[in-house]
Structure formats: C-alpha cells, structure tokens
Symmetry: D3
Subunit: 71 residues, 6 copies
C-alpha cells in the first residue's frame, strides 16, 4: 500500500544523521535544507520502519501544532 500524499502542510525532506534510542521513545535528528529537524517518536516505530542513520525520510507536522513567537 503506497501513500500518495499527507495532509500536513509542513514537510521537510532529508536524511537521518543521528538516533538517540530510549526504552519507549527515541530522538531522530534529520538534516534538511532548512537545517536540523528533531523528531521524537516511539522506539517501536523506529524498528518497524527500519529507520537508521542515512535513511531518507520526510518529517512533517500539522499547522495546528506550530506556535509563533513575535520578535
């Protein structure tokens, strides 16, 4: 089953450069043209998706999860 597209407006295409593994959640650092993006997902998802350093991924986030600060 392949997925054509995801509704999340904010998508960052890049490569995994580091994974910090924890017992329940793990941190995944992705190098993208925008700079380093950090995602925290369940450790089981990392195994299920067979993610490792060098894997090509899209990091995405819903608009409702993005906050703004005024400078």
């Amino acid at each position: 089953m392949s997925i054509k597209s995801i509704n999340a407006r904010n998508q960052f295409h890049g490569k995994i450069v580091e994974i910090v593994t924890g017992p329940v959640v793990s941190e995944v650092d992705i190098e993208t043209p925008t700079g380093l993006i950090t995602s925290i997902i369940s450790t089981r998802s990392i195994a299920k998706l067979e993610l490792k350093t060098g894997s090509e991924v899209i990091a995405f986030v819903k608009s409702t999860d993005i906050a703004l600060a005024k400078l």
Copy 2:
C-alpha cells in the same frame, strides 16, 4: 518581560507573507530562507500579538509533534 529562549528544538525564523482569518482560528504563512511554513493559531492571538503581513516571527514546534514518513 522578555523571553530568552524556548525549549522547542525546531525553530524557523521568517516573515509573515499571508494571514487567512477565520472566526476562531487563522492560518499564518511564514516565508523562511528555505520555504513556506504554515501555522494555525487562535484568531485572538493574532490580535493580541498584533501580527500582520511583514511581521518578523519565529515558528516553532515540539519534537514530539513531528512525525516521520519513510521514502
């Protein structure tokens, strides 16, 4: 009261290029050096922060809110 820094790991500095106003929430599009970021926040926050096209902002999101898709 000024805020030194925010814990969110993912921060995107840019300028507002469009605001789509709704009765309760509004969409804010921010032009960053590497592309458009879209945030949806409460319409009252837009008024309170006096956000408008051209305002300089930081868009930020917690790592736990970023999902990953494998290519």
Copy 3:
C-alpha cells in the same frame, strides 16, 4: 514521490463520508470498519490533496497524542 510508511502507530483505513468546510480548518469524517473517525485539518490541505466524499484515506495519530481515561 511515494511514501512507503508513516511512523504513527495508530492508523485507521477508511472512506470519507462527510466534509464540513470552514474558512481555515475543515472537519473530515471517515467511516472505518469499526466506526467513525473525525479529523480536523487545514482547508487548504483538503484542496491540495483533492479530498472529497468517497476518497480512500488513512487517518493516523502519534501515540504521544493519545490520552487515557480509566473506567
């Protein structure tokens, strides 16, 4: 670009049965084998993904966004 899989542990496969359109966000009701799932996404995403009643979708949510109540 096709996406093999998404990290979100909780995925619900179904068909869109109703869309309530708002100026900024819209409600999408998805009929799955075991009941109705409701998602609220940006109205622009609905247009971009060309979602309409009858579209086949996967609704997904990160484990960190699921709360629990004890009976």
Copy 4:
C-alpha cells in the same frame, strides 16, 4: 468527582494488553474492536491511575491531532 464525558470526538474503549515502562514516559497498548491502539503517557500517570494489564480504559484523541494520508 466523576466525569460524564470528554470532548474528544475519537474514543476507543478497550483493555490494556501491555505496558512498556520508561523512566519518564511509558507505552500502553490497548486492545479495542478497532485493533491495537498505542498511547504514550507519563509514567507517573500510570502509577496515579493504577493502570495495569487488564485495566479497562478509554483511549481518546482530539480531531485536531489526527492527520490524513491519501491512498
């Protein structure tokens, strides 16, 4: 104090089948008619709610936290 109902539109009634305990957050797997639902909550909440394998719970998630992918 008993709670009559929760606003979250998406509610999944089921039984806990596994808990993976971490120092700060823990993963809770719930068997529901919809299949396995996975929640990640703070480890302290698990203790406070006295959750264990076999506990009857409702897993719930806000519509704004549900993303969609088109097939």
Copy 5:
C-alpha cells in the same frame, strides 16, 4: 458510563464564561481560581456535550503538549 480519572497530569477545574462559535471549531474560555484558560475544540463536541456559559468543566492537557520558555 462514568470516567473515574484521566491520565493528563495538568487539570484545571472551572466554569465556562464565553464560547466563540465557528463553523468547524469553537473557542471556549474557562474561568479557573487562578485565571482564564482557553480551549479550542470541535463545534460538534460543544453540541454533543451540551456545553454553555456556566457549565462546570475540567480543562486538561498532556505533559508532552506543554512547552517551556526560560525568563
């Protein structure tokens, strides 16, 4: 079916003082002993829970959804 307790660590007990209704989501302002809390939920949930000014509610949020800023 009554709910004994919810895992969310952060719970604020109070009364609704205002509802701003939108076509898809609505803003609900809750007066608590220590100030105003604002929630944005789906407009259908407001109808389903029969929420109105004066209703007694608990506003709650998961720890993973709370960000921190250093002063």
Copy 6:
C-alpha cells in the same frame, strides 16, 4: 535575540521544583499560582536552556491542545 511574546493563549509563570531526567525526554514540574504544572520536553532542550531546580520559566500550551471534560 529576545522574544517579545508567544501566541499560546495559556501561559503559566513559575519556578521549576523537580526534573526527572530520561535518556530522550525529561519531566519538568513547575510550581505556579495555579498549582503544579508538568511538562515533558526533550532532554537536550533541558541542557540547551540550562534548566534546573529554581529556574524561572513560563509553561505554555496552545488552545488546540486543551481538551474538556464535563462534570
């Protein structure tokens, strides 16, 4: 770079009273006039912001992340 204000409507000013450190995420308990607020953020953010017991912080959360339960 100092931040004038953040869009999140719900802000809680207080002092850190405890940090429970994990390999990937850590729990931060903040004493505020509203009572104890618990945030879970990435452990790297704690180091980056140099947060420790006694640090003065603002805990904040977007309105879309706040759910409601009717009593």
